[in-house]
Amino acid sequence: MKDFAALFTRVDQTTKTTVKVAAMADYFRTASDADKLWTVALFSGRRPKRVITTTALREWAAERAGLPLWLFEECYPIVGDLAETISLFLPPSEGHEDRPLSHWINELKRLSSLDDTARRAGILQAWDSLPQIERFLFTKLLTGGFRIGVSQKLMTRALARATDQDEAVLTHKLMGNWTPDTTTWAALIEADDPTADLSRPYPFYLAYGLENLDELGPTTNWFIDRKWDGIRGQLILRGGEHHLWSRGEELMTDRFPELAQLKDYLPDGTVIDGEILAFQNETPLSFNALQKRIGRKTVPKKVLAEAPVILMAYDLLETGGVDIRAQALETRRNHLENLLESTPTKAPIRLSPEVTGDTWGALAAERARSRDLNAEGLMLKRRDSPYLAGRKKGDWWKWKIDPLTVDAVMIYAQAGSGRRANLFTDFTFAVKNGNDLVPFTKAYSGLTDAEFRQITQWVKRNTQERFGPVRQVPAEHVFEIAFEGIQASPRHKSGIALRFPRMLRWRQDKPVDEINTLDDLQQMLKTYG
């Protein structure tokens, strides 16, 4: 895999996207079909199944290095990446082996069928025979998430360039649940018709957060509806089957079995973009209700009854088997309204109602009602906008409500991973309860790199106690914590759990005495939970 290692090195040694795309395109022009297919799979989140536990890998790496396992465990949080830790921890490589990427992936498959002793021998053999970078990449294949500084979007752009295809068409071709074992380079990339696979979804169109209301012009140019607080989903009805895809390209069909009946109410050749919501008495339930259904592969009757779901439909991408994404939103919306007009109330689908207002002021008042309606704000979509692929600026905006906030004090800190390795970025926060501090949430994001560096210096100098990678620090620094929702949680000491907590700002002006209390949180739980 010298060529793959060379690609990695070129991509890794630059921060410029043009250089990364050029390197990827060169690789796609020269590599073998099998290697190219695996490369596309890896860069679109389709990693090979993990065959060996990370525990075993850590032990074998320590044995090979002749160093104690505890020393490995100390290094891991500092390096921030398991594969990298292993490749640095092992004795420097003297290997020269050069076999294709697909060979090593097949080797992984072969090892998965063997017993532990044989696996160990196989892995050690690979570590010894591979040069340093190849060893790191091979171990990365072993340990999971293959992210090396190239997004799926960049990879697709490079692929478009190398194969002389339109980027949006390629994005569409790469959707769905293919793996290199179920398809070929020719079928996936070179074949002309992306809808040949009936389950294949369209790329989702993603909105940016609203930047400047004043630039939007008259309200009449915009179609506006609620930003629903559920799970984005694409429902596909084709060939008598139905498929439900998440934005993360996960197939969710079995998790929401009640949507199967939509086959009876809607014609074949229909693809709808919408939000899956827990829904009762014509009202969306809070996200907390839906959460009970997330992560469940099968749904017991009780849960089905407690949190029934519907699809809140807001866009139509295909009708009569025809891709209509290039048509104006208004036109697509008319088709969608016609389609849903005759569906009975018992069908688990609703049309996302239009929110109207003559002025942006009136719409701001509508937006302010969001939390009461279990919505997150408003969606603003240009009436003449086509349905684009991916996150694009200009035609679609999300106008979210302000988050809930509390002031809390940091009590524990832990180093991050990846590009945040060796930097304290993961903090635990507490509120006051009488004279005690009660931890209630963790947060990882929201500060600038400079602020993280500053707090890291402070944590290093003010560690009171260590619990593995976690440092206890004096309760001195106050942060404003923002979050989107709050719910009761018996699993947490504080009795509450937050949704999307993050640091809004570092309140260096605020003394610890003035942070919020557990009572304040319980009050919020009553109001918003």
């Binding site: 040694q13 921030g80 990298e84 640095l88 921890f89 590009r419 390795a421």
Partner: protein, 335 residues
């Protein structure tokens, strides 16, 4: 018997000789291992350092009361023998050896065991008790050999120069910058320097250390005429508007931390060259073994991990809290 050196709120203290080593609070008598700002601090009553460390200290600390000593020369104070031995960290850096009533202690300051072609090479000094740093005291830190390093940096610069691209390299002003100057091939193109680095260059040239020609970056510098130049700057300057004038540019950092991909990606640098003036894992272990000491005091760095490791290897190792920084990318030593 009390220990020859103790660890006090002012710094590392020798009661028998009544002096401190690299103290962080003002004291009467300070023995200084080297000129970096976390070891040579202002406001001491009197300083003692090597001859080669003195010019930089005078430049940084102003009009100080400073005596100098040659490597290997022995002074005696209140019955304590004092001598300075090369630490290989930066020019003039020393390990300080103390002997009193047959007991030998060595305070190593910052050190590295590989010969960087610039600093006086590290010499192991046998002792009973050894004070060591642990900035890179984990087995994931293994430095690139000097020849390979030279090739990596020169290849990078030559490729950029051929495209008319500036090569911006971030490094410490004292030690690292001059080591890199002696590592690169000056025939590739012009070398430009940030003020903090050029100041130190001038001092070291003044004491007879040969460095290739460099040009100080000033507001009226003809940037275009220097396209493809190597630009040496402190890490903080590299992230500031100062660096904005060099376009197009490829950026790189030269630091031991570049061994970690995550750190390099966080700095948003194109390249990271793994080069440090501190010892790597193998260097620390070999240096400690070579002293023959059984008592080891571990200062700045991965103190808890490294001392635990040393204890498992049969040493009597203890952690010592100090105010030394080691090598940091996140704040440049003051200059």
């Amino acid at each position: 018997m009390t220990d020859l050196l103790t660890f006090t709120p002012n710094g590392i203290y020798c009661a028998a000789g009544d002096f401190y080593i690299d103290p962080w609070r003002p004291v009467d008598r300070a023995l200084i291992t080297h000129g970096h700002a976390d070891h040579a601090r202002p406001d001491m009553g009197h300083y003692l350092a090597t001859e080669a460390a003195a010019p930089v200290m005078r430049h940084r600390l102003g009009d100080i009361s400073l005596d100098t000593v040659k490597y290997g020369e022995t002074l005696t104070r209140n019955g304590v023998s004092i001598s300075y031995h090369p630490a290989g960290h930066v020019p003039g850096s020393a390990q300080i050896r103390l002997e009193h009533k047959g007991e030998v202690w060595v305070c190593s300051g910052d050190y590295k065991t590989v010969d960087d072609g610039l600093s006086e090479p590290f010499e192991p000094v046998p002792c009973h008790a050894f004070i060591t740093e642990s900035t890179f005291g984990l087995p994931v830190f293994n430095w690139t050999p000097q020849e390979m390093l030279a090739q990596q940096i020169n290849d990078w610069w030559a490729t950029n120069a051929a495209n008319g691209t500036f090569s911006l390299l971030g490094c410490y002003a004292l030690g690292k910058a001059q080591r890199l100057l002696r590592t690169v091939d000056p025939s590739i193109g012009p070398i430009l320097t940030h003020g903090a680095i050029e100041n130190t260059n001038q001092i070291l040239r003044g004491q007879g250390i040969a460095l290739p020609d460099t040009t100080l970056v000033t507001p009226d510098l003809d940037v275009k005429a220097n396209a493809g130049a190597l630009v040496l700057a402190t890490p903080s300057a590299l992230n500031s508007s100062w660096a904005g004038r060099f376009k197009p540019a490829s950026t790189a950092f030269a630091s031991g931390w570049m061994a970690l991909r995550g750190v390099r990606r966080r700095r948003a640098a194109d390249r990271g060259f793994i080069v440090s003036d501190h010892a790597d894992w193998a260097g620390l272990n070999s240096a400690i073994a070579a002293t023959g000491a059984d008592r080891i005091f571990v200062t700045h760095g991965y103190t808890s991990v490294f001392s635990k490791w040393l204890n498992e290897q049969g040493y009597n190792a203890k952690i010592v809290e100090t105010q030394f920084d080691g090598e940091s990318l996140d704040h440049t030593e003051a200059d």
